[in-house]
């Protein structure tokens, strides 16, 4: 039985999505290989460069690019960046990031919903980065999102899934892959996200700030696979107290 991740009709075996913006470009290949990564994000602003530092030059063959709209402050800007990504040959997947907050880099759900509508009309495969809010997630699904990417904690904070309860609700209620997008700092947290039923995990800072980025990529891969298996295996109920093996009411006739 295969257990593929399906986004916008495309199938992937890896559930580890790599954010590529924070480590040196010459490390990209090692991280992708060690992490078994099939999807890597890239900032269009970094790909739109002719010479030094063009992230596209460092992406291995066969990787699915997930260009993001970082730098966009509203839906129209996100659409223009998406079109540019398509022109650069990055394909149809677009991670929508619309940020109007330079301190915490929180996404603007309202503009994001608008952007999904605009991008869907042009046959992009929109994957919105969002604040975990069930109502907004439903509107995003309705507008044509191919996956929902709620943040686990402020981006770059490595604090783990502070929004776990809300993400779990979205996993239960939304019929699209839910991918935790920001805040995952350790493999154990990635594993936790997978155990509650997230379809994939995205990480960037956690890898970039590790002492050995390639080894950390491998640790994430293993943790994500373990979490997925645990989810599929349906963990037993967690009980606050020991459950008596003989029923307490066994004396009844």
């Amino acid at each position: 039985m295969t257990d593929d991740l399906v986004i916008g009709g495309h199938r992937f075996q890896s559930r580890f999505i790599l954010g590529s913006g924070k480590f040196s470009l010459d490390m990209t290949r090692a991280v992708i290989e060690n992490g078994g990564v099939q999807i890597a994000t890239l900032a269009v602003r970094r790909a739109n460069s002719s010479g030094e530092g063009n992230v596209l030059d460092h992406m291995p063959e066969g990787i699915t690019l997930l260009p993001n709209t970082s730098g966009a402050r509203d839906a129209e800007e996100a659409l223009r960046i998406a079109r540019l990504a398509r022109e650069l040959g990055c394909g149809d997947f677009v991670k929508i990031e619309i940020i109007r907050d330079s301190k915490y880099l929180f996404p603007d759900n309202r503009e994001t919903i608008k952007a999904i509508e605009l991008l869907s009309r042009e046959d992009f495969i929109p994957m919105p980065y969002m604040m975990p809010d069930l109502t907004a997630a439903r509107a995003m699904a309705e507008a044509g999102a191919a996956a929902i990417m709620p943040l686990g904690a402020p981006i770059g904070s490595n604090k783990g899934i502070l929004t776990k309860d809300f993400i779990k609700i979205m996993v239960e209620e939304i019929d699209l892959p839910i991918i935790v997008d920001a805040g995952i700092g350790k493999p154990s947290q990635a594993c936790e996200a997978m155990e509650i039923g997230c379809a994939a995990v995205m990480a960037n800072t956690a890898i970039a700030t590790a002492g050995d980025v390639a080894l950390m990529a491998r640790a994430f891969r293993t943790a994500i696979e373990a979490g997925r298996m645990a989810y599929l295996a349906r963990p037993g109920r967690v009980l606050d107290k020991a459950e008596a093996s003989s029923p307490l009411t066994g004396f009844l006739e």
């Binding site: 913006g21 924070k22 480590f23 040196s24 470009l25 269009v44 602003r45 970094r46 739109n48 460069s49 002719s50 010479g51 030094e52 530092g53 730098g71 966009a72 402050r73 800007e77 223009r80 960046i81 540019l84 940020i99 109007r100 907050d101 330079s102 301190k103 915490y104 880099l105 770059g156 904070s157 490595n158 960037n204 800072t205 970039a208 700030t209």
Partner: protein, 384 residues
């Protein structure tokens, strides 16, 4: 109607816009509660163990006591920098297109009464310069003029920016403070990042150092970033010229200014610059003297208090210092710099504002960045 604010040495000049903001009052009154000289070692240690630093913690990190904790500040700054900016280092170069100035800043080489070679490039010459810079591989340029509305009027600046946008993805300006409608024109011409240095945040010292010219009006300059954002700019940069006055107090106010603008305009990109006056020799007893240790302290304090803000390190600093600071707190550096007018395309028409200490070419700087395991980035923005 002439605007006359008690903090200014003279009323607003004709045409200067008053946006009626109280940012200046907020910043100066908050700063007046904090004395960087009042903090002890334990205050510094507390600041270093706090997750989200408040103004008091920032003050503690700028204190003389904190000089003993530079190594610990550096460790934490490096982590914050990595978390917020990864290991990328943005590169740009400044382009001086005119050095005419009507101000009398007593510390500045462009001072209108200084007998220097004055020049203003015509648009063809501007384009020559732009082409020469673009050929090196840079994709971001900062357009600078002296502060003369006569020699470099808004039309001239807009025309130069329009040329710059043909060759560069990112165009910033560092010119005289403008009104919000003028910033809008500049933004529409293709520049969307505005740098204005307040020089010193002490109004009376400011009046003493700026005896005449438009720059004399402290509050008009202070509100420049806010007018720029009202005019649709994407980002704004702040700076105090450290060493003009008490640098700890100036850095404190400059950081609070940036934080307050971020709070009021949360979408704005914020960046800090750290220009300094180099100390004379035998400056040991001068508490305003900003040596490299002090400059690094300010840079680290900015990084910890404003972890989300970019930080630019000037070519006024020597190569080893710049190499060291980019991994810790600075996120952006100039490369291949020529501060004279026409210097990039060998036209050499006018004198520079200051002497640079890092004459390395772009290639050499790229190599130095790579050697530290950092990633040189030519373009960090997509203009759509």
């Amino acid at each position: 109607m002439a605007v006359d604010k008690s903090i200014d040495a003279e009323p607003y000049h004709e045409g200067m816009e008053d946006i009626g903001t109280d940012t200046l009052d907020t910043v100066l009154s908050e700063a007046s509660r904090i004395d960087p000289y009042s903090f002890s070692d334990s205050d510094v240690r507390r600041a270093l163990s706090t997750d989200d630093l408040g103004p008091e913690d920032f003050g503690a990190l700028l204190s003389p006591s904190a000089e003993r904790y530079l190594e610990r500040m550096a460790e934490r700054a490096r982590d914050e920098r990595l978390r917020h900016f990864g290991n990328s280092v943005c590169l740009f170069t400044p382009l001086y297109i005119s050095n005419y100035c009507t101000n009398g800043c007593v510390y500045c080489g462009f001072n209108s009464r200084n007998k220097i070679n004055r020049a203003k490039l015509d648009l063809d010459q501007v384009e020559e310069e732009l082409k020469a810079i673009a050929a090196t591989g840079l994709e971001e340029v900062l357009m600078l003029t002296g502060e003369s509305r006569t020699h470099s009027d808004v039309d001239y600046i807009c025309d130069s920016i329009a040329l710059a946008s043909k060759y560069f993805t990112n165009v910033g300006i560092e010119v005289y403070p403008m009104n919000s409608d003028e910033y809008r024109r500049v933004q529409e011409a293709g520049a969307d990042y505005v740098t204005v240095f307040q020089e010193t945040y002490d109004p009376s010292k400011y009046a003493e150092l700026h005896p005449y010219g438009n720059k004399r009006i402290f509050s008009y300059r202070f509100d420049a970033q806010e007018r720029a954002l009202m005019g649709g700019m994407r980002g704004v940069a702040f700076g105090a010229l450290l060493g003009l006055d008490d640098f700890r107090n100036d850095a404190l106010r400059c950081g609070l200014h940036a934080a307050e603008i971020q709070r009021r305009y949360p979408h704005a990109e914020i960046s800090m610059s750290l220009p300094r006056l180099r100390p004379f020799i035998h400056h040991e007893n001068d508490k305003n003297a900003v040596g490299e240790r002090q400059l690094l302290q300010v840079s680290l304090a900015y990084r910890l208090f404003l972890p989300y803000a970019g930080q630019t390190i000037s070519t006024r600093e020597r190569p080893d210092f710049r190499n060291g600071i980019i991994g810790l707190s600075a996120t952006k550096m100039s490369a291949g710099v020529s501060v004279g007018i026409g210097g990039h395309s060998g036209q050499n028409k006018g004198d520079g504002q200051f002497i640079i200490s890092d004459p390395r070419s772009l290639e050499e700087i790229v190599d130095a960045i790579r050697e530290q395991g950092l990633q040189p980035v030519m373009n960090d923005y997509v203009r759509t």
